[in-house]
């Protein structure tokens, strides 16, 4: 939920858990929440809606976790990527209720609150985005990799 609390790390895992691997982001967020770490807040969301700016404004570091569509036959298979990202408003005109770009959300936070946190985008490879609640083996492995690296990020600071 979005009660305002001071937090150092914020994890936002987003996607539709009813679309198989699109649920990888929410799955990561739910697992991080279950760790109950101090100064770490995790939010599972379908979409990156403007209300999330409230939470972003009080975070020092935000980690967005999303799934990305990859070729199931690619060799070697796609891996989890960590990318440092910043605020960007270059997608002006995008539908406001479906703000699915973390860079735009960061820009919105900057505009609204005069600050935005350092940000990372964690991208988990997915191969199955059809209807269903389970993750493919590829996405499941990706979730594990993402969780290990996120934990390392927490402990390295």
């Amino acid at each position: 939920m979005s009660k305002e609390v001071a937090t150092d790390f914020l994890i936002i895992g987003y996607g539709n858990p009813l679309r198989h691997d699109d649920g990888a982001g929410p799955r990561v967020a739910e697992i991080v929440a279950s760790w109950r770490l101090p100064n770490v807040r995790a939010i599972s969301a379908h979409q990156l809606t403007p209300e999330l700016t409230d939470a972003l404004a009080s975070a020092e570091v935000v980690i967005f976790v999303d799934a990305r569509r990859t070729d199931p036959h690619a060799q070697p298979p796609a891996d989890v990527t960590f990318t440092a990202i910043g605020a960007a408003e270059d997608r002006a005109g995008a539908a406001d209720t479906h703000t699915s770009d973390p860079r735009r959300l960061l820009a919105l936070t900057q505009r609204l609150y005069g600050r935005c946190p350092q940000a990372w985008l964690v991208s988990v490879p997915g191969v199955d985005f059809d209807f269903g609640e389970s993750l493919s083996e590829r996405a499941r492995q990706g979730v594990e990799v993402a969780l290990r690296r996120i934990r390392l990020l927490f402990t390295s600071r």
Binding site: M1, S2, K3, G15, N16, L18, R19, H46, Q47, P50, E51, T53, D54, E89, R91, A92, G93, A94, A95, D96, T97, H98, S100, A107, L108, R111, L112
Partner: protein, 479 residues
């Protein structure tokens, strides 16, 4: 020669649709159609599912108003169980529905429609969005975002999640509110009230200064329908009697049990849209066109039932016709803000009610009837769920009458009215501002064409002018 202007897709509404505007030989608008091109099929694929799953399934109809379906479905289950739910359960369901009204109306006004109102219909479409709004009106934009957040928090603190909470069930609800969460919501109310009052002040000034939009954005006589309280006919959002009035304020139907809706409402279908067109049976189709939602609820009720909203209702009616009925669909925006105010006042009252913390929130029951109907007021209007089950509670038939569908005839007439007012001899080029007015006319109804999946990227608008021979005369694409 007949020409056709196509706006496809319409943006900043929930879902996907296109608009066709037909021109006659003289270039004047002869007809207009609002096509809903999505097909969901919920009524069919619910067949064979257990009654207990229906609330969870039908909540997936929509990512914006899942609570409305959750409540209507749970009420249908109450009817089939033939149980009276505990007082705490009804109050908790009411609280969640009020949170739903706040969040959905705030989304409609601040995120979707206010860029048009505040930045202008002729402003650069690249800036006519929430970013542009923040740049020009940062305080109002921030307040609007936080107001929607408050509504979502009400839902989340009760149901455990903002979207698709599996909380209301046949017989009641799963969990009561905790004292900590009640206190948290209390603390958020003053800011929410301040935001909606500022928005109301802004909108009244705007409407007074934009009489052209008020006069031509869906301003015509229709019937109005919604629930009113069983005692006194006041504004109602969860349970009550159906009331239907006309544009002169005459009451056609009153004290009507909504479970018998099929006696007075028919459902027409058109080959060019997946959206049904319900109508009032005694007047036939399409003469029995009626509107639902905020505008209708304010037009049919005897009062709002809370002091600040009652004062706003009186002012609202002063802007209506000689009978105090507001017939312009543009004023849906105004009605939406009055309803947010009413919802916040009622939330404040409910949060002081000791019943909210009662652990008795669920009545047990079984399949005691084979047919049930559940009706509640969704943000966009009256929502009907109608199920038939077998002896084991397996669904045999489902009929859903969704608020947006009930406004279908009125939305088509709105597009036609706007087009007829602004398009005259449009043969060379299509002004951006004009097209946005057509979209804005539809947006006034806040139609929800169901979008429980998240869109990928930006939806472009393509406008095509087609001659009677099928040749494309002009095309505009908005990236």
């Amino acid at each position: 020669m007949t020409q056709r202007i196509v706006i496809d897709p319409v943006t900043r509404i929930e879902g996907h649709a296109k608009i066709s505007i037909y021109l006659d030989d003289a270039g004047e608008v002869s007809d207009a159609r609002f096509h809903v091109v999505e097909f969901r099929g919920f009524e069919k694929f619910c067949e064979g599912r257990p009654l207990g799953e229906m609330a969870g399934i039908t909540a997936r109809v929509c990512g914006i108003c899942p609570v409305s379906h959750l409540l209507a479905s749970a009420k249908t289950g109450d009817d089939i169980f033939a149980v009276s739910i505990p007082p705490a359960a009804e109050k908790l369901r009411r609280l969640m529905n009020l949170g739903q009204i706040v969040q959905s109306h705030a989304l409609s006004f601040f995120h979707l429609s206010s860029p048009d109102l505040l930045l202008g219909y002729d402003s650069d479409p690249a800036q006519r969005n929430v970013f542009g709004l923040i740049a020009r009106y940062p305080d109002l934009a921030r307040g609007g975002i936080r107001l929607r957040q408050f509504g979502q928090e009400v839902i989340e603190l009760l149901g455990g999640r903002k979207i698709h909470p599996a909380w209301a069930v046949p017989g009641g609800v799963r969990e009561p509110l905790t004292p900590e969460n009640r206190d948290y919501l209390r603390g958020r109310l003053p800011e929410a009230l301040d935001t909606v009052k500022r928005a109301l002040a802004f909108f009244k000034r705007y409407a007074d200064a934009h009489s052209d939009e008020v006069a031509h954005f869906g301003n015509f006589p229709t019937l109005f329908m919604g629930l009113v309280s069983k005692d006194g006919g006041r504004w109602e959002h969860y349970d009550g009697w159906l009331r239907i009035t006309d544009s002169d304020g005459n009451v056609l139907v009153d004290g009507f049990d909504p479970r018998h809706y099929a006696q007075i409402l028919g459902e027409a279908v058109e080959p060019w849209s997946y959206l049904k067109s319900p109508y009032y049976k005694p007047l036939g189709y399409p003469d029995g066109a009626y509107r639902v939602g905020p505008l209708a609820r304010l037009n049919i009720c005897s009062g709002m039932g809370t002091p600040q909203a009652d004062a706003e209702l009186a002012e609202f009616r002063q802007r209506g016709n000689a009978h105090g009925v507001v017939t312009s669909s543009f004023m849906y925006h105004y009605a939406r803000l009055v309803e947010i105010l009413a919802a916040l006042e009622r939330i404040a009252l409910l949060l002081d009610d000791p019943d909210l913390l009662s652990p008795r929130v669920r009545a047990s029951g079984g399949i005691n009837k084979l047919h049930g109907v559940g009706v509640s007021e969704a943000p966009r209007g009256t929502l009907f769920h109608d199920y038939e089950v077998d002896e084991h509670g397996m669904i045999r038939r489902v009929n859903l009458i969704i608020a947006t569908g009930q406004n279908n005839i009125a939305m088509n007439r709105t597009v036609k009215q706007i087009a007829q007012h602004w398009i005259h001899g449009a043969t060379a080029g299509i002004p951006e501002g004009l097209l946005n007015r057509v979209e804005a006319g539809i947006r006034a109804f806040d139609p929800c064409l169901s979008c429980s999946t998240h869109a990928i990227g930006h939806m472009p608008m393509i406008v095509t002018l087609v001659g009677s021979d099928g040749a494309v005369l002009a095309e505009v694409k908005r990236e």
